[in-house]
Symmetry: C4
Subunit: 218 residues, 4 copies
């Protein structure tokens, strides 16, 4: 069995367990941040789960790296993979792989490219908003002069930030909160551009399709 | 008469009445929200009209579904239709259908695709701004700490939100108001992208047309 | 002499005088708004000039309409012309015509389409910012609760609005100011989209040209 | 040796020294602005270095102009060069030239156009944010009513401005600060459009590449 097929085999076997692990990671982190009146022992459990799963993700990354036989060239060619090891809250972004794996097995016709881009980018934006709200909320909670008092405030702030509206009624005031916020602004702009661009053209196509006409651009 | 032609027949017959019903719905809702010193009985009338018309819209949706003979596949292929049943304030967006129906009968030459996209997206943005202002104003009015005191404030807020300027001098503070606002940000970004993109290219074409030249990109 | 050539003749003869008139109009209006400690008689002069020139613009519009022989179809096909009659502050936007008229006579090679779009859209944005600042400043000045105290504030507000940044440290509070502001947001978004899009692609081309390479997309 | 080859020779010899000078310029300016408790003599050194290097940049510009033999046409065809002489803080933008010079010598395969545009535009945005923060911070520091108290505030303000989010919790209040801010809004919009557009399409390609599929648009 050569390197390439071993890498494929590893990927094939770990895809679904790792995706479940990513959801557990997100849930454990969210529980830690949001369930403030939970007994201390449960907080310890949540933190252990998040740390343990991060070790699993790192191990998976190392195994793939070794199996790829690419040396340092692995990092630039697997950029997304590298990013989600460093920022595991974004790991569920890899759902696109799971979706494709499932569809390949079932042999069903795939969604159109259009629909895939919209659902994927939309899902990513929601995930970015949720993860970012959690992380910024944890950084801001209880800071002196904070304007972000509840998790609802954090979600509202994330929505106004990712759409670049930026009311400024709720803003992070701590250095860590602002660093995460800057990352969200940049990542969000790119994803949102993809979402709105696709949505806008989908809307046009929908109207023309309903009118029994050839959609524009086809 | 087969399913397909019956569906077309139903559509042909209901298009204009349903559009009028959508305008009545919007007017009744606006009256309920804005006419605060109207006798209670008139408020009851407005609410009955909005609820009754919503039942009509839902019934129309069910009939079309049955006539289409598509089963569950009807929902994704008639996404816009599904959205306007859930959010009837946006129903006048279907005006594009009415416009096309009228033009098909009169046999007049259609507007250019360019002009249709601009008028439709512009109209939708205005409608989204008006409906959203109404709904957010109803949610915010009288809330403690609200910055939105009059309907004028709500319209001003909607304009600064849909253009993504987001001054933040007027912002929703209630959970319901913020949920509606988030929907407006997302929907508005997409529509506005279409409006400004088309407007910008229309502007360019206008100038070149006036200069007796071939427009760019043609 | 047929209608068409008479229309062309009229245009040829009035182009430069009308452009000068537009600049005088803008200057008179700016003087009226900004020179607050000018004697009352001069204010009266400025207002007479603006009103008189507006009559001239309206007369020119009527003459062209009659000469065009197009009837009501003149309005949609001369949209920009119609807009600048209603909002004469934007009239200098027609500078593109003057520029073309001058170049046609001198026979010099025209700028590339790229450079023309950038200069025109950039100029229009500056003009929109200046005219809008003037109009909003006049509406806001002295209003109770106004945050726009000097003309500098108004220009700063216009810059943050036209770029959709929207800090909200300075915002219009009067109904008239907000109506003008909404118009600026919409018009500005479209123009700015054209400016930044062209600028961004020009920047890329510049770098590649300096590197003695074929620019991308050519 | 004709003009053209002498111009190339000059460029070849000065590229790396000038780039190092640009970095020294930026470092000296940053030290002057940020190291507030440095002895006065060091401030004088920093200022002398910035002024001296500016003279060097101006001299280089004049030499190239003379060698080009283009007369006044040199200015529009070397726009970027002209801009960085006037605003030397932006000079490191010319790093693209250095990068190309190095690569030409080493003969390595160049990055794809896609990757070059992203890295260059991303780098420029970071540089614009850093230089702008420095300049605005210098103008705002200690101004009455300033909301920008630390350099961290200035960087946070720059991030929210360049992404057009514009919270407005930190804003310049001095005329000079606002002029620089307006320049940043305009330049940043264009660069950011390039960054996010490229990033968004890169993200899509990455996902599809990882799925062993042909990327969209190729």
């Amino acid at each position: 069995m050569d390197d390439d097929s071993r890498a494929k085999h590893w990927e094939h076997r770990t895809e679904i367990p790792l995706f479940v692990a990513a959801l557990v990671y997100l849930a454990a982190y969210a529980t830690h941040v949001l369930a403030t009146d939970m007994p201390a022992v449960w907080h310890a459990v949540c933190l252990s789960v998040t740390f343990g799963l991060w070790l699993v993700f790192a191990a998976d990354y190392v195994v793939r790296w070794r199996l790829s036989g690419q040396g340092l060239r692995f990092v630039p060619t697997h950029m997304l993979h590298t990013v989600v090891v460093l920022l595991p809250l974004l790991r569920p972004l890899r759902i696109v792989r799971l979706y494709e794996a499932v569809q390949r097995r079932s042999g069903q016709p795939r969604l159109s490219l259009h629909a895939r881009v919209i659902s994927y980018a939309g899902l990513s934006t929601v995930l970015l908003a949720f993860s970012g709200s959690l992380a910024v909320y944890q950084a801001e909670r209880g800071a002196p002069g904070a304007t972000m008092h509840t998790f609802g405030d954090a979600v509202w702030w994330a929505a106004s930030t990712l759409t670049t509206v930026g009311y400024g009624d709720v803003t992070p005031v701590t250095p860590l909160g602002r660093v995460i916020a800057t990352g969200m602004m940049i990542g969000g702009l790119a994803l949102l551009g993809a979402v709105t661009g696709s949505f806008s053209s989908w809307l046009m196509r929908t109207f023309y399709r309903e009118g029994d006409e050839k959609p524009p651009g086809s």
